[in-house]
């Protein structure tokens, strides 16, 4: 599974990336995590607020930092 965090560098974008990496490590999910900072790349997903969270090409959230349990469910693929 591939997790992408879309964001040009706002505070929330950094916080989301940290959170995703932390969850990935503590639950040893071994997911591929990528931070996308290129604006044109980001815009292909059609989000209007950063940070965006994309899992396997599907936008899961944009504009806010999802709660831990929600993030974990997405990252485990149970939701």
């Amino acid at each position: 599974m591939k997790v992408q965090i879309l964001g040009t560098g706002c505070a929330k974008c950094k916080a989301l990336e940290q959170k995703v990496r932390l969850l990935n490590d503590t639950h040893t999910l071994n997911l591929e995590i990528e931070k996308v900072t290129d604006l044109q790349e980001i815009m292909k997903y059609g989000i209007m607020m950063t940070p965006g969270l994309v899992i396997d090409g599907v936008v899961k959230s944009s504009g806010f930092i999802p709660k831990d349990d929600q993030l974990l469910a997405w990252m485990k693929g149970t939701q």
């Binding site: 989000i47 209007m48 936008v59």
Partner: protein
């Protein structure tokens, strides 16, 4: 904070009465604190201190309440919904609606570019998009609270009213100028697949939690500015001679309005830092129109946001955007200096 987030409704029931009591006895606490210091009444230092110990908690209390309520209201609006409301609207009606939505839609200047592209791609007219981009940062809850707390509701209303008029008019003018070719070419070539984000309808508890989240986020970020702003304001309040500003920012100085805007545009501060200072200047003889113009240009037109927008707008359109808004602000400044 954890407990509050877990029981959002119960917490509100407890916090609200406490808030009211605090707000009601604030003046007495401030006076008591000043009396404790034993400083003589009427001295510069005493008055500056009194101003500070009263205004800081007052503004912070107001801010917490308003940011909380606005945080809840914002959960009913999203950029996606705003965009679909604005699509296909005619220029003038679209500009009005867009400015109104700019006030309530969650917005952060770091998202200005994605939002701009999202709007333009979906067929929202350029001028209507600009009305949104002007109103969203200029008319925000922090500015309104500070204006209400320090100046009173009349000035707060005046600011919101004139700010909306500028956003509507400037967006309309930009729309009529037909400047679509000054948008960077790549913007039109993206063809994003619009996100099929499943819309989760939040429960009321979720909305309350967003309210608390907003308080933590926004008040947590602006309180140092408020402290600094009111600190400088108290100094001016207590030490600057009466009518000191009349010669510089007074009514009779015809060039003061454009000068205030010229200085205000590159100056970057948020509403929290600038409004208390401006409030003190007004007391010392600055004219209302000049003050209003200065405030609007500092808060509404910020250099960092303009630089961010350069990624999607060619330099010509950046210049058009800044000058149209600046001219609007200057006109508002002159009108108010004339009327008051």
């Amino acid at each position: 904070m954890k407990v509050v987030e877990k029981h959002p409704i119960g917490s509100a029931v407890i916090i609200l009465p406490l808030w009211i009591i605090m707000y009601a006895i604030l003046q007495r606490i401030a006076d008591a604190l000043i009396a404790l210091t034993g400083l003589p009444d009427g001295e510069h230092l005493t008055e500056a201190l009194r101003f500070f110990v009263f205004e800081v908690p007052k503004v912070l209390l107001l801010l917490v309440l308003v940011v909380f309520v606005v945080g809840i209201i914002r959960t009913y609006f999203s950029p996606e919904r705003t965009r679909s409301l604005l699509g296909g609207k005619s220029l003038f009606v679209g500009n009005i609606l867009s400015s109104m939505l700019g006030i309530v839609t969650p917005f952060c200047s770091c998202s200005a570019v994605p939002l701009f592209i999202g709007f333009v791609e979906a067929g929202v007219p350029l001028g209507v998009t600009f009305s949104f981009l002007i109103a969203a940062p200029m008319i925000n809850e922090v500015a309104v609270v500070l204006l209400f707390g320090l100046f009173g509701w009349q000035t707060a209303l005046l600011y919101v009213g004139t700010g909306s008029v500028i956003a509507i008019a400037a967006g309309y003018v930009i729309g009529r100028l037909k400047v679509e070719h000054f948008v960077e070419d790549w913007v039109y070539k993206i063809h994003a697949n619009p996100t099929a984000l499943e819309e989760i309808i939040p429960s009321f508890t979720d909305r309350m939690q967003s309210g608390y989240g907003a308080v933590k986020d926004i008040v947590g970020k602006v309180w140092p500015y408020i402290l600094a702003g009111i600190g400088v304001g108290s100094g001016i309040h207590g030490y600057m001679p009466e009518n000191f500003m009349a010669g510089l920012m007074g009514k009779s100085v015809w060039w003061s309005v454009p000068a205030a805007v010229l200085i205000g545009v590159p100056l970057y501060s948020n509403a929290a830092g600038i409004i208390p200072v401006v409030h003190a200047l007004l007391e010392k003889g600055a004219a209302l129109g000049t003050t209003l113009a200065f405030m609007m240009s500092v808060i509404g037109l910020s250099l960092p946001e303009t630089i961010i927008l350069r990624k999607v707008l060619k330099i010509q359109l950046i210049l058009i955007f800044v000058s149209v808004v600046a001219v609007g602000i200057i006109m508002v400044g002159y009108v108010f200096n004339l009327v008051y």
